[in-house]
């Protein structure tokens, strides 16, 4: 069990991590997501006692890392695959780590076999590829048979076979009751590996919930509705009817309609009553990647130039009135703009209760109580007020209409779930 409470880290004027509180529980793989520079590695380093938090604290099994007795037997970590002395052989590198906690040399050969490096054990690690370095780092983490494992970007540089192996390894370690905390950029990989997600942006907690809830809560699916192309008036009619019924309707380039805020049967009924034929009525299930993009789009620090330019233009269609995130409250340096989107993300549904414990409570609130087996689009009520009204409430970075906000200000506030 890893527990962070109010973790804050400042480097001079820059705040890398701000008031971060979360728990990583044993028995599941917990994914740690966030855009580049959002503070993932800094958090990992603070967990391992490498960096001293400016405020707050983080404990492993109730102890700060630096006070853990025989730490290598309790915590294994892969922080940086290249953090080895290149002039030392893989085996000697592991041996020096093993000797620290009285682990026998035979265990070194064992983990070398586990990660598949037995044939290059005697070779100097400077000649290793990134993938081999990752394997060596994973071997070092496994060395002490620890109950708590941290991996920072473990699949970087691995081949597909290696990625599959890491995925299964993580799951196996978790199924043995260990605490497994993995950071990654690869959404698809996280969707397959992790059961629980902790998402941060600009150093602050954005979300702390299970993968299924996360997708359900953040990436609002929608219904794709298509009317006969030969009769555009039918399309307009349906749009009017659906809008009147409280749904939100947007056009897709190919003429289909994206509908949120109405359940599938409702759309069908309304169409029937309006005497509109439907060619297509399909649910759209969002992927983790989409949910993640939706959640972090306002907290991205590094964006390519092309995107920036596009972002300065006024959002095309689908501006959501009244959805200005309250992150632009007085004192806040400004809300970062959403990325210019080609696609369209529906706003998240209101989230009753805080999804993470924060500094206020020691027991986390239950994750967003959305039955995950329901169609996500069926619960959309985007206009509903956010459930946590004080301060920057989780209004969510809405549509492209928000692109008018100036991104040049180093906004530390993120619109959603910022606190």
């Amino acid at each position: 069990m890893i527990e962070a409470v109010g973790l804050t880290k400042r480097y001079g004027a820059k705040t890398a991590v701000y008031n971060l509180s979360f728990q990583v529980r044993p028995g599941t793989v917990t994914g740690f997501l966030g855009p580049n520079g959002s503070g993932k590695s800094t958090t990992m380093r603070m967990i391992l006692g490498l960096d001293r938090p400016t405020a707050g604290h983080v404990t492993i099994g109730g102890h700060p890392f630096r006070e853990l007795p025989n730490a290598p037997r309790q915590v294994g970590a892969l922080l940086d695959a290249k953090a080895v002395h290149g002039g030392r052989s893989a085996r000697n590198h592991l041996l020096s780590l093993a000797q620290l906690s009285g682990i026998p040399a035979s265990r070194v050969d064992e983990v070398l076999g586990v990660v598949g490096l037995q044939d290059v054990a005697k070779r100097r690690s400077s000649g290793f590829s990134l993938g081999m370095g990752q394997r060596l780092g994973i071997a070092a983490a496994l060395l002490g048979d620890p109950q708590v494992l941290l991996f920072d970007e473990p699949v970087n540089g691995l081949d597909p076979e290696g990625i599959l192996w890491v995925r299964n390894l993580m799951k196996m370690l978790a199924s043995e009751g260990r605490t497994v905390f993995v950071s990654s950029h690869l959404m698809s990989e996280m969707a397959l590996t992790a059961e629980h997600l902790i998402v941060i942006g600009r150093g602050q907690l954005l979300s702390d919930m299970s993968v299924r809830d996360f997708i359900a809560a953040n990436s609002a699916g929608f219904a794709r509705v298509r009317t006969p192309q030969t009769e555009p008036q039918q399309r307009e009619k349906l749009t009017t009817v659906l809008t009147e019924a409280g749904g939100r309707v947007m056009s897709e380039p190919d003429g289909a309609l994206r509908v949120t805020g109405l359940a599938l049967p409702q759309i069908s009924d309304l169409a029937h009553e309006a005497d509109v034929r439907l060619w297509e009525l399909a649910p759209h299930q969002a992927s983790l990647e989409e949910a993640y993009m939706q959640m972090t789009q306002a907290a991205v620090d590094y964006r390519s130039t092309d995107d920036q330019l596009a972002g300065f233009q006024q959002g095309p269609q689908g501006a959501l009135p009244g959805q200005l995130p309250p992150g632009s409250a007085p004192g806040a340096p400004g809300v970062p703009q959403g990325p210019p989107q080609l696609g369209w993300y529906a706003p998240p549904p209101p989230q009753p209760g805080q999804p993470h414990p924060g500094v206020r409570g020691s027991v986390p609130a239950p994750p967003a109580p959305v039955p995950a087996d329901q169609n996500p689009y069926a619960q959309q009520a985007p206009e509903a007020a956010p459930a946590a009204p004080p301060a920057p409430a989780p209004a969510g970075p809405a549509g492209p209409g928000l692109t008018k906000n100036d991104d040049s200000t180093p906004g530390s506030d993120t619109p959603e779930d910022a606190r």
């Binding site: 380093r45 391992l48 002395h85 002039g87 000697n92 041996l95 093993a98 000797q99």
Partner: protein
């Protein structure tokens, strides 16, 4: 976590990189080789000296002239032992495994110091005998007063130079920066300052200038040092302790 475990681990680290063997071998070769060369050349100088000059002749010290070059290899050894952790990022792996940073640092330095001392002691005795053999009739013998102290002192001096480099590197956290500062300092700056009369009074308290005193059996003509051989060595020890303390504080306080 036992200190013994950490020592063992540091020994594995130090013996498993090439720079250890290379730098220590270079230190021995430079010290012995240059000492032999200068001793052989000094044999002719001795023959031309009058009685007054012979009073200040120090055959023991002459055979240790090579330490001025050998100490540079010792500095590189000290810098590599500590700096290798920083330049490779290994420091994060190490500190994640040994959260008690003081234990980590002093185990590393203790192991490296012991190894350096063993090499320096052997080098010192070989240097002495080779040098004295080259001096022929003017040679000193190990039984002469102060000679054994000078020979062991030379080994201690070489060891402490390496430890000083380890301390400085822990403060600076970069091998390139440390070498860039230590090499010119000990190769050029302190010898020059120590030989220019105007700066001598201050420079004699610098670590190598003070510590080198322990290798002398006969004080050179016009020696103004207010300390004896062990006094000078003590000053050097203070320098080394200061460097280690600063290094320890930096490691303790700063983020890895």
């Amino acid at each position: 976590m036992h200190a013994g475990y950490v020592w063992k681990s540091e020994w594995t680290k130090i013996r498993s990189v090439r720079s250890t063997g290379t730098t220590l071998a270079l230190a021995a070769v430079f010290t012995i080789g240059l000492g032999f060369l200068i001793s052989a050349l000094s044999k002719n100088e001795f023959a031309k000296m009058d009685a007054h000059e012979l009073r200040f002749a120090d055959p023991t010290f002459i055979s240790f002239v090579g330490t001025s070059l050998g100490q540079l290899a010792m500095i590189v050894f000290g810098v590599m032992v500590v700096g290798g952790e920083y330049s490779t990022g290994m420091i994060r792996t190490s500190l994640a495994a040994v959260p008690r940073r003081g234990l980590f640092l002093f185990s590393k330095i203790a192991v490296a110091t012991l190894l350096a001392f063993v090499v320096a002691l052997v080098t010192s005795f070989v240097t002495f005998f080779v040098g004295q053999a080259a001096l022929g009739p003017y040679k000193a013998s190990l039984g002469d007063p102060g000679v054994l102290r000078a020979v062991i002192g030379a080994a201690l001096y070489m060891t402490l130079i390496a430890v000083f480099a380890m301390g400085v590197t822990t403060v600076l956290r970069s091998p390139m920066l440390s070498l860039g500062i230590l090499m010119p300092l000990f190769f050029l700056l302190t010898p020059i300052l120590g030989n220019v009369p105007a700066t001598r009074k201050v420079a004699q308290y610098l670590p190598d200038q003070a510590g080198g005193k322990v290798m002398q059996v006969v004080a050179p003509e016009g020696d103004i040092a207010p300390y004896g051989p062990w006094g000078g060595f003590g000053i050097m020890v203070l320098w080394v302790l200061a460097a280690l303390c600063c290094g320890w504080l930096v490691l303790k306080k700063r983020d890895a």
